[in-house]
Subunit: 274 residues, 2 copies
C-alpha cells in the first residue's frame, strides 16, 4: 500500500526530481502495533534534511495523518517516507515554488534471523568506499548509489552487514546501519562530518549511554580501533542492535555494554527486539 | 512525450530504484532534424555507466528504435534517456536478475540567448563543492544532488553558468558543462578521476584539438590557472561552446582557439550552433 500525496497510488510522475536527480530525502521507520517508533525523531530529521536541501517539507500533521492511515492495523512493519522536490524546475534548477511529492509506503517486517540480535553477526570491511561530501553528510537523502554498491558486495562476502570505510580509509558506518565500538568503558562511533548517515538509534545511544556509566567518543575510528575493541555493534531503526562476533579473522563476544544498550533501547520503545 | 519501456506513459512505479536510490544513469542528447547528435558516443557512455554500476543496459537497437519514434519529426529538441535498475531487489540490495526501466523523453530546445555562443557569458566560482568519489566519478548517474545545489546558487549569482570546485578547491567543471582553458597554445581541462562528469563534447575536443595545433593537458586546474588563462570556455551537448568573457572581476575576449574549436565541432555535427 502506497500513498502518494495522500492518495492510494503505485506510480509517480516520470518527471519527478526524485527520479531525475535523487532530489529528496527519506525515512525508514519501524512500526509496532500501529505506532511508528521514534516517530518525532524521524520527522525532525526529515525536516532538517529538507531544510538543508531547500525543499519545502510537507506539514508534520499531514505526514502523521497519512502514516496513521497506513499503519493503524499493522502489528509489525516498516514505513518508508520519501519527500522529493516534485516535478517543477528546469534541468538541475529547482522551481522557485516547489511542488513537493510525498510517497508513504508500508513494507513487511524483514525476516532477519532473531539470533542476529542475540547471538551476533559476522562482518567484514567492504572494498567500495564512501566519498567525502560535507554538504550532504549526515542527511538521509535519495543519492544512495554508494550504499547500493556497498550492499551488492555483501552477497559475495556472505555476511549480514558490512563495514564501510571512507576514501581516507577511516571507518564510517555499516552499509545500512551505524557502528559503535566499546573499549574498556568508552563507547566510540565515527564522526560523520564528511560522509555517512546520522542514524536515529545512533543519536539515542549517544544521548543516553552516559547513564550506563560509559564515556562517549565521537571522532576518527580506524580499522585498528575495531580490531582492538572489546565490543562492536551495528544499529539502526529496523535491525535494532546487532553485536559483531566476528570481524574478518577476529572473534568477539556479545559484550556486556552492547546488551545493556540494547535493553535500554528496547525499554525506551526505540527498537523492536526479538 | 515519454516512452517508458517502449510504451507512451507519464508515470513510473513508485518502487523504482531510480527514485529510491538514484540507481541508474542518463544521457541528454541534442536532436537536430530527427537525428540525435553524437548518438553512438552517448549510447557508449550509457553502456559504460551501466557496466560500472552492474545494471543490465537495454539493447542499443531498442534504445535507438524507441528514440527514433520520439525524434523522427523533431526539428530541434532535447532527448533524455534514463536507464534505472528497475523495481527489483530489497532495500539497497539489487535483484540478481534486474528488471531495468528505460525512460525516454523529449523536451523543447532550451531558449538560451544565441549570443552566449558567439559573444560569451559571465561566470563565477560557486560556493558549494563537489565531493570526492572515484568510484562514481565520470559516470552520468542519477545521484545529482550536488548539481542541484550548485545550480540553485546560480540564480543568486545571476550568471548563466558557474564553475564547480571540488572539496580540495580545484576546478572540476561547469555546473552542467565541462570547462576548458587555453593558455598560449595549450588546451587544459580538469582531470575527472575524483569527481565530475566526463562529457561527450569534452571527449571530442580532447580527441581532435591537436589538429588545430594545440597542446593538450588533462590534470589539476586551479583558480589561478583560470585567472591566468587567455581563453576559457564551457561545453556540453546542448549549449555547445560558451566562451567566458568575465570570470569574477577578470575580463576575457572570445578567443581564437575557442572559436576554432566551436567551428570544428559544428562542422563535425557534434553541436548545434546559433
Amino acid at each position: 500500500m502506497i500513498l502518494i500525496n495522500g492518495k492510494p497510488n503505485d506510480s509517480i510522475s516520470a518527471q519527478d526530481r526524485g527520479l531525475h536527480y535523487g532530489d529528496g530525502v527519506f525515512e525508514t521507520i519501524a512500526v509496532l502495533n500501529g505506532q511508528g517508533l521514534c516517530w518525532q525523531r524521524h520527522i525532525d530529521r526529515l525536516v532538517r534534511g529538507c531544510e538543508r536541501l531547500g525543499i519545502n517539507c510537507p506539514p508534520e500533521l499531514l505526514l502523521q495523518e497519512e502514516s496513521d492511515r497506513l499503519c493503524s492495523n499493522v502489528g509489525k512493519g516498516v514505513l518508508k517516507l520519501i519527500v522529493t522536490r516534485g516535478t517543477g524546475g528546469r534541468g538541475y534548477q529547482p522551481a522557485a515554488d516547489s511542488d513537493t511529492t510525498r510517497i508513504i509506503s508500508l513494507y513487511d517486517w524483514p525476516d532477519y534471523p532473531h539470533d542476529y540480535q542475540n547471538e551476533g553477526v559476522r562482518s567484514c570491511f567492504c572494498e567500495a568506499r564512501l566519498g567525502h561530501n560535507p554538504q550532504l553528510a549526515e542527511i538521509k537523502h535519495l543519492n544512495r548509489l554508494e550504499q547500493v554498491i556497498l550492499q551488492s558486495e555483501l552477497a559475495s562476502h556472505n555476511v549480514p552487514e558490512g563495514i564501510a570505510l571512507d576514501i581516507s580509509g577511516h571507518v564510517i558506518e555499516g552499509v545500512r546501519s551505524n557502528i559503535f565500538t566499546v573499549t574498556v568503558d568508552t563507547l566510540s562511533t565515527p564522526d560523520l562530518s564528511q560522509c555517512g548517515i546520522a542514524g536515529i538509534i545512533r543519536q539515542i545511544i549517544l544521548e543516553n549511554a552516559a547513564e550506563l556509566g560509559m564515556k562517549i567518543s565521537v571522532g576518527t575510528v580506524t580499522k585498528d580501533d575495531l580490531f582492538n575493541a572489546d565490543e562492536i555493534f551495528f544499529c539502526n531503526s529496523i535491525i535494532g542492535v546487532w553485536p559483531v562476533i566476528q570481524l574478518e579473522q577476529k572473534q568477539l563476544d556479545v559484550g556486556h555494554y552492547t546488551n545493556e544498550l540494547k535493553k535500554m533501547l528496547s525499554a525506551m520503545g526505540a527498537i523492536v527486539t526479538a
